[in-house]
């Protein structure tokens, strides 16, 4: 392979990895509190459509980004009301949230299909632009979300593992009864974790429509929400490992696009499948080692301590 190809791949990996990383971080926070949100796909769609619509209507991508984060947070709070307060089954509620997201995003985005927007501004530090092979690619020409993606991952790690709040969240995810006995309120912590996760999911969706594609089309997330659920497992619920996981999958997407662009002889349908095949491979390879890493209370409903 040639240097431009590799650099192009890397640039693509970082670009499509950004939204994967934000979504993985969001889902990691939620799952650390014991709640698995299968409806993440719906959250991403809502983020993408709200972000795009608000940007198209207002002409301000920052406003769109902000609205997408809020919408994601609110959607996850609704999910929280179902599974925390109403104690509904998490898997069924998650799937319902996904379809809700499909419908809601289509409704919100309907007026703006085909609209042209100015997306999030991108910039490249001038000292990096000096390199010949950097100039030829999109490498280091990023929007704010991409630039701060890794710092955000470190921040999430720090919040989960180095703060009183994070200790409470992890304790709730392991054993709500013990956390309750320690004087923490499991429901409040789960709502907090879910709203953080929702904001990050909304931003992840917005990055797709405001930076990557600059269009809105129905179901544009194409299963990324489900890939992310596998990524959370792959990264063992650790925000730092999530960086590598997101890059890997971003790379798979980017490779697939590069191959198609270069007129590869492999069927485009097969290429389209590659991220999902990678997901399957990783789930198979990771299957056995899951037990010690997963939060013990993941997916369980806490009925209080009688």
């Amino acid at each position: 392979m040639t240097t431009p190809l590799i650099l192009g791949l890397l640039a693509g990996a970082i670009l499509s990895g950004t939204s994967l990383l934000y979504a993985t971080l969001g889902e990691t926070i939620a799952e650390r509190s014991g709640i698995v949100n299968l409806g993440l796909e719906g959250i991403l769609l809502i983020g993408a459509s709200v972000g795009f619509s608000v940007t198209a209507a207002s002409g301000n991508a920052w406003l769109g980004l902000f609205a997408a984060g809020m919408a994601g947070g609110l959607a996850n709070l609704l999910f929280g009301w179902l599974v925390v307060t109403r104690k509904a089954n998490q898997l069924a509620s998650g799937l319902a949230m996904m379809f809700f997201g499909f419908g809601a995003s289509a409704l919100i985005g309907a007026r703006y299909v085909g609209a042209v927007i100015v997306g999030l501004p991108k910039w490249r530090p001038s000292w990096l632009a000096g390199f010949r092979w950097v100039k030829a690619t999109t490498l280091f020409n990023y929007d704010l979300l991409t630039w701060v993606a890794i710092p955000v991952a470190v921040l999430v790690w720090w919040a989960l593992f180095r703060t009183r709040w994070g200790l409470g969240v992890r304790a709730v995810g392991e054993s709500p009864a013990v956390a309750f006995a320690a004087g923490r309120n499991p429901a409040v912590l789960q709502y907090q974790a879910l709203s953080c996760g929702g904001v990050l999911g909304g931003l992840a969706g917005a990055h797709l429509s405001l930076s990557l594609t600059l269009t809105w089309s129905e179901y544009m997330t194409a299963g990324r929400g489900f890939i992310v659920i596998a990524l959370v497992i792959f990264s063992k619920w650790n925000p730092l490992r999530a960086i590598a996981a997101a890059l890997l999958f971003g790379g798979a997407e980017s490779l697939q696009l590069q191959m198609q662009a270069r007129g590869s002889l492999i069927s485009p349908f097969l290429l389209d499948m590659s991220p999902y095949i990678l997901t399957l491979i990783i789930l198979v390879a990771w299957g056995g080692s899951r037990r010690l890493a997963a939060p013990a209370g993941l997916g369980r409903t806490f009925y209080g301590s009688e």
């Binding site: 180095r162 009183r164 054993s175 013990v178």
Partner: protein
């Protein structure tokens, strides 16, 4: 009564609590002084737990008052209890296995800053550890700790949260003998610094060894109080059990008997197994159980007991060696075949290991009966019921209603259903895994009686237990399991608890990881 301080730290006056028809506490008075170990003694159901739960704010009394330093206080919740510097070590530890010792302790600190400072907490853990003999590695995940070390973490949690009054609910139940000694040294260190300790137990020897004062409860009432050195075992037994004196009777029951050259029912030859996660691999077990004997297996928890039971039942496959059942090589038999051949299983917690809570009692009775009641594609329910009714009668158990879900039965009745099912087909081998854990004294005694009767009827019994008293009373031979290997074998009456205790823990020294 003698006490190191003039005024009691805690005074409970006239506390009563009724649950339905049961008067759990009946006008109970109790005082606790700083610098004393106060033992609260009584059989299960005597009201000890209710009283301690009232003191810790879990349960509200119907009447009566609690005074702290002479002032009447309301303790409505554990949180309030903690603010009054009352702490409690539960039988089921309140620990999160996946988190480190430090994180578990930090979780319970009331003055934890928003941004954690692990070094600061670690330093406090170290200081308290040194002062009271509670050394543990603060960075180890709790799942790697022994039961004794987990208990230390529980105590550290209370001390770091500045508790002065410590309630211990049967703390020695799960400990090996040398760990009990270590706990009593911790008691002594705490006592010397003026802490008040309420020690709930029904083990008499321990009480006589470490308590400064003893209060005996029976049927919800305080029936006696003693200072240190005033009470002997006989007096306490009479007080705890009234005139029944059951304990003495059961001791003599298992007269020395050893089947002469009986044929082995089960044999393990060099049996090993693989393990994943937190399981213990079994390493080259040589074991033989003959008809008409009870073989006991002692060991601290996690030594491979569950894995041994699983191996015999066929839930776990052998990685090396062989398993023989009544002379046939059973190494690769399915669970169904083992059970049909006459292996019964009496588990610790029926709802987890032997019954499906949401299914009816009748359906649960049919579980594990294999092909016995098959008639075409149907199950012959009436034949099943007839056999099970006979089994209930033979065991002198009341026959429960068969239609409700088994999860609705009380713990004791549920255990009876499982036992009746397991005993229904005259098992050749009974594997009993902690069968009396969680049972009250009388139910435990009747279960032991039943196992002895099965033994006398020619069954082989494997009794896996952590309770050395139970093993001493029951077994014809005793094996010691440590780290998945058998490290000791004794015939009846030929062992000392201390020696077994050391074998159980794999060393002569108290090793602190």
């Amino acid at each position: 009564m003698s006490s190191p301080l003039a005024a009691p730290l805690v005074e409970i006056r006239g506390v009563s609590k009724r649950y339905g028809a049961v008067q759990a506490n009946d006008v109970v008075d109790l005082s606790l002084y700083g610098g004393e170990v106060h033992a609260l003694l009584g059989e299960n159901g005597a009201g000890k737990s209710t009283l301690s739960r009232i003191l810790y704010g879990f349960t509200r009394p119907d009447s009566g008052e609690i005074f702290l330093n002479g002032k009447a206080v309301d303790v409505h919740s554990p949180r309030e209890a903690r603010s009054h510097r009352i702490g409690m070590v539960f039988q089921n530890f309140m620990l999160i296995p996946a988190l480190s010792v430090l994180e578990n302790i930090a979780l319970f600190l009331t003055d934890l800053p928003a941004v954690l400072r692990p070094e600061a907490v670690g330093k406090r853990i170290f200081e308290f550890g040194e002062r009271f003999g509670l050394t543990v590695n603060p960075h180890a995940p709790v799942r790697q700790l022994s039961v004794g070390d987990r208990q230390k973490v529980e105590i550290l949690k209370l001390l770091l949260a500045e508790a002065r009054i410590l309630i211990f609910d049967e703390p020695t139940k799960v400990l090996a003998p040398h760990e009990v000694d270590a706990l009593f040294r911790v008691f002594a260190a705490l006592k010397a610094e003026g802490f008040a300790i309420l020690f709930i137990t029904h083990k008499l020897r321990e009480v006589i060894r470490c308590a400064d004062r003893i209060t005996v409860m029976r049927q919800g009432r305080v029936v006696g109080g003693f200072g240190s050195g005033q009470a002997d075992v006989e007096t306490l037994v009479t007080m705890m059990f009234g005139e029944r004196g059951e304990i003495g009777a059961t001791r003599q029951a298992g007269a020395t008997r050893r089947p002469a050259e009986a044929r082995p029912i089960l044999e393990l030859r060099g049996a090993s197994s693989h393990a994943t996660g937190s399981e213990t691999p079994l390493r080259g077990l040589e074991l033989s159980i003959a008809a008409g004997e009870i073989v006991g297996v002692a060991g601290v928890s996690g030594s491979g007991q569950k894995e041994l039971g699983d191996l015999i039942l066929g839930l776990r496959s052998l990685s090396a060696g062989s398993k023989w059942f009544c002379g046939a090589n059973a190494s690769s038999w399915s669970i169904a075949r083992m059970r049909e051949s006459g292996v019964a299983f009496v588990p610790e917690d029926p709802l987890v290991m032997a019954a499906v809570g949401g299914m009816s009692v009748r359906e649960n009775l049919s579980l594990g009966t294999g092909r016995r009641y098959r008639s075409g594609v149907r199950l012959d329910w009436s034949a099943l019921e007839a056999t099970m009714n006979q089994s209930f009668e033979a065991l002198a158990f009341p026959i429960p209603p068969l239609d409700p879900p088994i999860g609705a039965l009380s713990g004791g009745n549920l255990q009876r259903v499982v036992i009746a099912r397991e005993m229904a087909h005259e098992p050749k081998l009974i594997v009993a895994l902690y069968p009396t854990r969680g049972l009250d004294v009388r139910s435990a005694a009747s279960l032991r009686h039943l196992l002895r009767r099965a033994r006398d009827g020619g069954s082989g019994v494997l009794l896996i237990s952590e309770d050395l008293d139970e093993l001493a009373e029951m077994t014809d031979r005793l094996l010691v399991l440590f780290g998945g290997a058998l490290v000791g074998a004794f015939s009846r009456g030929a062992w000392q608890p201390e020696e077994v205790g050391h074998l159980m823990t794999g060393s002569k020294e108290v090793n602190v990881a």
